[in-house]
């Protein structure tokens, strides 16, 4: 008999090899206590959080917490039902109204997670005989949405406008086409040239979906994302987003101006065949989204943090994922997984948490220490972070 788990043996061996060097397991950290958006207790030590996607620090906002608590008492702990049966409460409609206002779009649809939003929208709108043209560095939820649907899938080189255009030109002109892009690519923290890419896509008759998971609330004059920042939001057919980053809760959504968009509620299986989000999450999310509409000062401070950390790490001699700070993510490139894990552990022992990212999540087989900044990080904390990076970098031999 074949053990179905034998296919995982290489990964099991790599993991055992890594742990045998004595480093702590980077993928089973537990937060024992969370004190604020930027401070938690990990392994009994107070730790600065620099790897949480909590870009706007909304997880402990007083108004957000109060809204959640009130909904818990008023509507109960959970909905026990699908959005299309008994699972749509007042709170779900309030979140959808808040999203429509936030993006100034006609339709909004809330999913139970951001992953399901991509999975559902992509697999439903691109069917047999249609083409999906997507960036090779797309998030796993986008790839899985492609795999779940029946469309023909055509990838192109990351952020390469010419590669995208060449492929669009070669496709049958009459075929349905969906171009999928992301505003911020979360591994390296780089942004997409959406202005050029969306223009090229539209010129070839394609519909455009942009995943703005890592830009919502932060990038663009109104925090609507990279497409807004590059003046292209009115050309985007579908924006996909999440509540688990800047909004500070959990859930996913799609907003659109497509006149027939509401039919998605009946045909999109990852929307229909799952329970809706609990009332607490909806009330907290609606309050958070509305506060993010007026968060210009926080956005400005987050940009200051991003620029200072990027400049400081560069000056210390670290190899970074982008030449300039483009988002709230700063990726520090490690020479290999072993030294990456050692550096990760040295930082954690020094009271600083970052994400250790490794293949297959990362492009080009890179090992990354991914830092994501928060608008609630103080200027002093950022200096403190740089001091800890310098000490760990020298101890592990990443910098001279």
């Amino acid at each position: 008999m074949t053990d179905l788990f034998s296919k995982f043996d290489p990964l099991i061996q790599q993991r055992e090899g890594l742990l045998a060097t004595g480093v702590r397991d980077p993928f089973s950290l537990v937060m024992d206590e969370v004190k604020s958006p930027t401070i938690a207790v990990c392994n009994g030590r107070e730790t600065i959080l620099l790897g949480t996607y909590n870009y706007m620090g909304m997880t402990f906002d007083d108004d957000v917490l109060a809204a959640g608590k009130e909904a818990l008492d008023t509507f109960g702990a959970g909905t026990t039902g699908s959005r299309v049966l008994n699972g749509t409460y007042q709170g779900h409609k309030l979140v959808e109204e808040a999203l429509k206002e936030f993006y100034a779009m006609d339709h909004a649809m809330v999913f139970s997670t951001g992953y399901q939003a991509n999975l559902g929208i992509i697999s439903t709108i691109a069917g047999k005989g249609d083409y999906i043209i997507l960036d090779i560095d797309s998030h796993a939820s986008i790839w899985d949405g492609c795999k779940m649907g029946d469309a023909e899938v055509v990838p192109f080189k990351h952020n390469d406008v010419e590669a995208l255009e060449k492929r669009l030109k070669r496709l049958p002109p009459e075929a349905g086409k969906l171009v999928i892009l992301e505003g911020v690519y979360s591994m390296l923290g780089d942004i997409a040239p959406l202005k050029e890419m969306i223009a090229v896509s539209k010129a070839h008759g394609a519909m455009v979906l942009v995943d703005e998971a890592h830009s919502m609330g932060f990038i663009g004059p109104n925090g609507r994302g990279v497409a807004e920042d590059q003046g292209m939001l009115d050309q985007v057919d579908f924006v996909i987003g999440t509540f688990s980053k800047s909004v500070g809760t959990v859930g996913g959504f799609c907003v659109s101006n497509h006149p027939k968009f509401e039919i998605m509620r009946l045909v999109c299986r990852p929307y229909v065949f799952t329970a809706s989000l609990p009332p607490t999450v909806m009330a907290a999310s609606a309050t958070s989204i509305r506060k993010l509409m007026h968060a210009g000062n926080k956005r400005a401070h987050l940009w200051e943090n991003s620029r200072r950390l990027h400049g400081g790490l560069k000056a210390l001699g670290f190899d970074l994922g982008t030449d300039t700070p483009q988002s709230a993510i700063i990726a520090v490139i490690m020479p290999d997984l072993e030294r990456g894990a050692a550096m990760w552990e040295a930082l954690l022992n020094n009271g600083l948490y970052v994400n250790l990212a490794r293949p297959p999540a990362t492009p080009a087989g890179m090992t990354l220490l991914r830092c994501s900044l928060c608008a609630e990080h103080t200027a002093d904390q950022v200096e403190d972070i740089l001091t800890r990076f310098e000490a760990a970098g020298r101890a592990v031999g990443i910098i001279g």
Partner: protein
């Protein structure tokens, strides 16, 4: 020389810069096991083939192509 042999030679030329291990290229050679290409190399190579012949080889088609010979036949078919 037959049309198929011409196509095989053209594909072999395109494989060359990616053939870091100097594997002998034949109809039966597989991309994954003989040439030992990872997904990134496959993507760059597919892009090179697509540009050379002005065609699209979708991921769905790529899933059916394991050997050099299968690729040669697929490209001939795609060019029509």
């Amino acid at each position: 020389m037959t049309d198929r042999q011409t196509m095989f030679d053209q594909i072999a030329t395109l494989i060359e810069p990616f053939n870091k291990k100097g594997v002998t290229v034949s109809d039966a050679a597989t991309f994954q096991h003989d040439l030992e290409w990872d997904s990134l190399t496959v993507m760059d190579f597919v892009a090179a083939v697509e540009d050379e012949f002005d065609i699209i080889i979708t991921m769905n088609m790529q899933a059916e192509i394991e050997t050099v010979g299968q690729l040669v036949d697929a490209v001939i078919k795609l060019r029509g």
